[in-house]
């Protein structure tokens, strides 16, 4: 008999191994696709979205800023970035244990994603680190030097992004909801880490740089809403990788986040368009795509915590609020957030982070343990306090870090191009080329 039982044990162990391998294969497939989708959001998604919104003479310059970050942040990520975000277990910043990607290989890291190679987790998170600084270029558009942009955003990634990512998502981070943070902030895919951080920093940049020459008297209409339209649609699709991928597995939570993401985008496109229709008597294409992006931003922190109906509410609120930020608030204060990085990402991210505290449900994601309420309507109103702490820390970090870094970069390379270069356009003066050589 003992021989039989030994054989059964062996068989069971084999089966167990096969099941684990099968799950890992499925999860890994989805996560690699998600990583690629998130990269697609920066290039070409964001590059086209922003590229169409600037004047013709600055098209390549703004696209090049996104593209430069695809290369730069990747190298930084390999050297120290990944380790600063996801190494160690300090409250504010990670350590150097994974510097140069040491120890990052085929084995999963059970703290973050137990079924996929840590290398997949690493490259997936890299794509978030790329798009976040790229979002800021929407506020500095049409007047910031290329050298200053590159230096500032590289430093910003180290000083603002890495600590925030660690605080919210890293083991032991101050705001981590799953791995023992002091103020467990719910941020499924980056409402604080990605959108508040970039949006608030964008506002600081817009104010520090000052207005574009001629703003607001001189008309500066988008040079190609066709490009912006394609970019926004790519962003919408890419966002499925961003939010549903943040489940870090190919499971039902990923489906839930996918659905919430899609519904919020649709609701926000409608509410922005409706607001515009009421105000101007017409619904514009730019309004509809801007609304969709605002909804996608707002659902980002909530995607893996809320049901489809609350997702519609979040999207609806975000579309209308961001419309108001972009058309009214910006005009009242007079800052030149050229492509509305703050109005959409800063405001949308803040609204989304707070509403996550209202609508999060244990039925969707029992992040605090079985039977424990998650958000306000679930019976845990205190969560809104935690969300507020997370929001305030993200705002504070972004504000302080950006001001200090801008001062430093201003001394080293300068941040703003001379007026004659601005008038000539950044494509020619910064890069020595033109987007459209119509006579070629």
């Amino acid at each position: 008999m003992p021989e039989v039982s030994k054989a059964v044990d062996e068989k069971l162990a084999q089966l167990d191994q096969r099941v684990t391998a099968a799950q890992s294969s499925a999860d890994n497939a989805w996560m690699l696709v998600s990583a690629a989708l998130v990269l697609m959001m920066t290039g070409p998604g964001l590059a086209l979205f922003y590229g169409g919104l600037v004047r013709r003479k600055n098209t390549l310059a703004i696209m090049m800023q996104s593209f430069a970050l695809m290369a730069l942040i990747t190298v930084m990520w390999a050297l120290v970035g990944y380790s600063l975000c996801f190494g160690g277990n300090g409250p504010v910043i990670g350590g150097f244990e994974h510097a140069f990607l040491r120890g990052v290989g085929a084995e999963p890291n059970p703290d973050y994603a137990g079924t996929i190679p840590q290398m997949t987790f690493m490259v997936y998170q890299l794509m978030f680190a790329i798009i976040t600084p790229a979002l800021i270029t929407g506020a500095t558009a049409e007047r910031m030097k290329f050298s200053g942009t590159v230096l500032f955003l590289t430093l910003w990634f180290l000083v603002v992004y890495a600590p925030l990512a660690h605080m919210v998502w890293g083991k032991g981070g101050l705001l981590n909801a799953a791995l023992g943070g002091k103020f467990p902030t719910l941020d499924f895919a980056g409402g604080t880490v990605v959108h508040i951080s970039s949006g608030v920093s964008a506002l600081v940049c817009a104010i520090y740089l000052g207005k574009r020459t001629g703003y607001p008297k001189q008309p500066m209409p988008p040079h190609s809403l066709v490009l912006s339209f394609i970019g926004a649609c790519l962003l919408w699709v890419g966002w499925f990788g961003f939010n549903a991928g943040s489940a870090l597995a190919s499971n039902s939570l990923a489906t839930s986040a996918f659905v919430a993401t899609h519904f919020a985008a649709a609701a926000a496109a409608l509410s922005w368009s409706a607001a515009e229709w009421l105000k101007n008597g017409r619904a514009s294409a730019l309004g509809a795509i801007s609304g969709a992006v605002a909804g996608l931003v707002a659902i980002t922190p909530a995607a893996g915590f809320v049901a489809p109906m609350p997702a519609l509410v979040i999207g609806f609120v975000a579309g209308a609020c961001c419309y108001w930020m972009v058309t009214k608030v910006k005009a009242i204060f007079g800052y030149d957030d050229a492509l509305d990085a703050f109005g959409v990402h800063g405001a949308g991210g803040t609204i989304g982070a707070l509403l996550t505290g209202v609508f999060a449900q244990q039925a969707i994601n029992p992040i605090f343990g079985a039977g424990k309420a998650v958000g306000g309507l679930d019976g845990h109103w205190g969560q809104i306090g935690n969300q507020l702490v997370g929001v305030l820390i993200a705002w504070g970090f972004a504000l302080a870090g950006t001001i200090v870094l801008l001062k430093i970069v201003d001394m080293l390379t300068g941040v703003r191009v001379p007026e004659e270069h601005e008038i000539q356009g950044l494509d020619v003066t910064q890069h020595g080329e033109e987007a459209y050589n119509l006579e070629a």
């Binding site: 209409p221 730019l286 058309t327």
Partner: protein, 112 residues
């Protein structure tokens, strides 16, 4: 010889060109231009910012005609370029002193 300049709606351009070919006009120079007379522009709104677009796209036709042809050409343009709304454009006529074909230095109406 008369020089005729007609500024017309871009949407009427193809019809005007076809009609002129039918009455035997062989040459013309065409430019895409922007401008306005009594026609007011329109406003465009991008994320709440309003822009008034008052320079509207038009087509400018230029041709130099033998005196005998002028009134037929003018009639043809009037008939085909007219939509009856503000913004249909204008025709200007002026005397031309001399015309020279560069290829063989022919002069006067022969050069047209």
């Amino acid at each position: 010889m008369m020089k005729l300049e007609a500024i017309i709606q871009p949407s009427r351009f193809e019809s005007v060109k076809d009609a002129l070919r039918e009455i035997g006009i062989e040459g013309m120079t065409v430019t895409e231009v922007r401008g306005h007379g009594r026609q007011k522009g329109h406003t465009e709104v991008y994320r709440g910012r309003e822009y008034t677009v008052d320079l509207l796209p038009k087509m400018k036709l230029e041709m130099v005609l033998p005196d005998a042809l002028v009134s037929r050409v003018v009639d043809t343009i009037l008939k085909t370029a007219k939509t009856g709304k503000i913004g249909d454009g204008k025709i200007f006529l002026s005397r031309v002193e001399e015309a020279i074909r560069i290829r063989n230095e022919e002069r006067g109406e022969n050069a047209l």
